[in-house]
Symmetry: C2
């Protein structure tokens, strides 16, 4: 090909999510791979006739009624905002794309947790970011110390503090306050990604860190993919005042506006349905799945890995014994051939090759009666990989 692609394309790796989702949809596959919600949590939607208004072009900001409803929720989370500061997104992946366009060019330093959401890493790298690790524990241990100084003086800090993908970690109240103070005093622009917040299975602090900021610029985003339906592709962001106009222009340039029918459906579900009852049902259902998965894990992985039982979110994050010697990406193909899909841990790290030995297991998508068989199959593969590497 004589055609010269933009140099950024050399930095674009296919996210393993894609191939994994493809394999996970094969009939008969037991998939612990994607972050797919359980289909039985989806609402029954009877639309009837679509209104003409929803078929016409609409505003780039999104529908006012939906934005107003979202702003109500945001105020309950501690944000001092109204509908005019809400931007409807075609899924929260789009928010990552827009914020990357806003903030990132070759040479910009972007701080991220490591591990963190791999599709955010993918986009930040595409736009030319130099990635800098951030760790909330070090911030806690050495306030004002040097450990996170590079992260805090970066052009942006991206965090996923509530039931993080992949680790399911949730920041404590004091960690949240500490980070807000650090961002304010360093004027660190904070990008907080919060798609899992409603999927909590026991009480914990979930206050958005962005809602606590006083001086730093910020973008906060969430999604309807985990609580209503991912196929509708709807999320939203809210941000500090100065960032709204440029983000709106970027949204317009990206896809003019989001699907109006989805906006209507989501708005209707947020208003008409007993939303809180639905959320409680989802939480109950996922809590019981989590507990069943935990039991199955204890049985099959008790001697092979360590993990924390997640307080919320959709994942168990396992550190394998003998982790240092196992590239879990190499386990994926044999696992899929054995009928089980999982997510290797490496792609969630800034430098995948230096972080072997983790795997991410989703418990929401596969039926609980298949947990045991799937985990047993996976454990056999891990055991043989571990013993092979012991032999070397």
């Amino acid at each position: 090909m004589n055609t010269r692609l933009a140099k950024r394309m050399t930095r674009l790796q296919a996210s393993p999510i894609r191939d994994v989702l493809a394999s996970a949809s094969q009939p008969g596959m037991i998939s612990f791979a994607g972050g797919l919600p359980a289909s039985d949590t989806f609402p029954a939607i009877d639309i009837g006739c679509v209104e003409d208004e929803d078929l016409q072009y609409g505003p780039s900001e999104g529908e006012w009624l939906l934005r107003d409803r979202i702003a109500q929720d945001l105020r309950q989370r501690g944000f001092d905002v109204d509908a005019s500061r809400v931007l409807v997104l075609s899924g929260s992946q789009q928010g990552i794309d827009l914020v990357a366009k806003l903030m990132i060019e070759r040479g910009r330093q972007i701080a991220v947790e490591s591990p963190t959401y791999l599709a955010a890493l993918q986009v930040f790298k595409l736009f030319g970011a130099t990635l800098v690790p951030f760790c909330i524990d070090s911030l806690e241990q050495a306030v004002g110390g040097s450990d996170n100084q590079q992260a805090l003086s970066s052009d942006m800090l991206y965090v996923n503090p509530t039931f993080q993908n992949p680790s399911s970690r949730v920041y404590t109240a004091s960690q949240r306050a500490l980070l807000a103070t650090a961002c304010d005093s360093n004027q660190t622009m904070l990008f907080e990604d919060d798609p899992y917040r409603e999927l909590f299975y026991q009480p914990c602090d979930r206050q958005p860190i962005c809602s606590m900021l006083e001086r730093a610029e910020w973008v906060y985003q969430s999604s309807f993919s985990k609580t209503l339906a991912p196929g509708l592709r709807l999320g939203y962001l809210v941000c500090s005042e100065a960032l709204y106009p440029p983000l709106l222009k970027l949204k317009q340039a990206a896809d003019l506006h989001s699907n109006r029918l989805s906006q209507r459906l989501v708005y209707r579900m947020l208003c008409d349905e007993p939303v809180h009852a639905r959320l409680r049902d989802i939480q109950d259902s996922y809590r019981s799945r989590r507990d069943l998965f935990s039991e199955a894990l204890n049985e099959h992985f008790g001697a092979l890995a360590s993990w924390q039982v997640p307080t919320g979110g959709l994942f168990f994050w396992l550190k394998l014994q003998g982790a240092l010697s196992i590239d879990t990406r190499k386990l994926l193909q044999p696992a899929i051939e054995a009928g089980v899909a999982f997510m290797p841990g490496e792609p969630f790290f800034i430098d995948p090759d230096t972080a072997p030995g983790y795997i991410r297991l989703n418990f929401s998508h596969t039926r609980p009666d298949l947990y045991g068989h799937g985990l047993a199959t996976l454990a056999t593969l891990v055991r043989s990989a571990t013993s092979e590497s012991d032999e070397v």
Copy 2:
């Protein structure tokens, strides 16, 4: 704000489309501004219950059945492709974003018609393109000559050869063949944007130029916004083999995948409905609107402007008398105050400030019985602007 935005943000102008769409939606406004389809062309959609599958995450490429159906249409247009080469988009604006990411970085030369679609100019500039003018007439007059040599040796050529927005111009068969040959022999990557192709009101050649290429790389895109419904935000692209994998990765990074419910609805409408009869109805309806608009234009603008009656598409493109002295952007505010919205011509040019005196008028959205009043109001404003500038 201490936060440093990416430098590209200094190049992002708000498209006037946005403000214009906003003003055009005020009650009582007669709008010739946006490219909004007539609501009476929208299909009646009764969805009934949404299937669970459409609520779950889906493939980044789009639904196979829809891609297969699109590929059928593409083969009828002369493309030698199957479903595997079709990428479903969240509207064709997204195609412009993806192709810009693929091809454009600071310093890249991108050739465009001038005037051309303003939201393409907006995105190309955002990504750092140096814009180079391309003109099919010069290519015709001087084959192998120097006029378009810079355009043909650019990194990409973007054209909208069938009922162009804003000019409604359509390339002849020989112009299409000539451009295909020129792209092949110069190995110019061709990006052909074809959203208006089904809106033709008299016979003319509409063969996609990309379908005639033998060596050059290419991307061809179209949309369901003009023939089904823009609010569903669905379009598609097809491209030369080497460009598909990187475009797919970019699509995934942009929004994971397009709305599945929209894909289901569009697929159903393409298969179940008598599509050709629907298209013929739309063509008949728009042809008669075009003719009524033409009559009203003759009456009110006959002495004020010149134009071609469009063969297809949604716009009349007027060159005002005394054009050199009228910045039509300055007419917009008084026009809106007088209850009429239109689209100034300047933003459609590479360098808006050097191209005064054009306006774009849409005839599909406003009711025909309002054409006369709206155009009379506009004509009065134009007349007074012309006489004012004469006085200076």
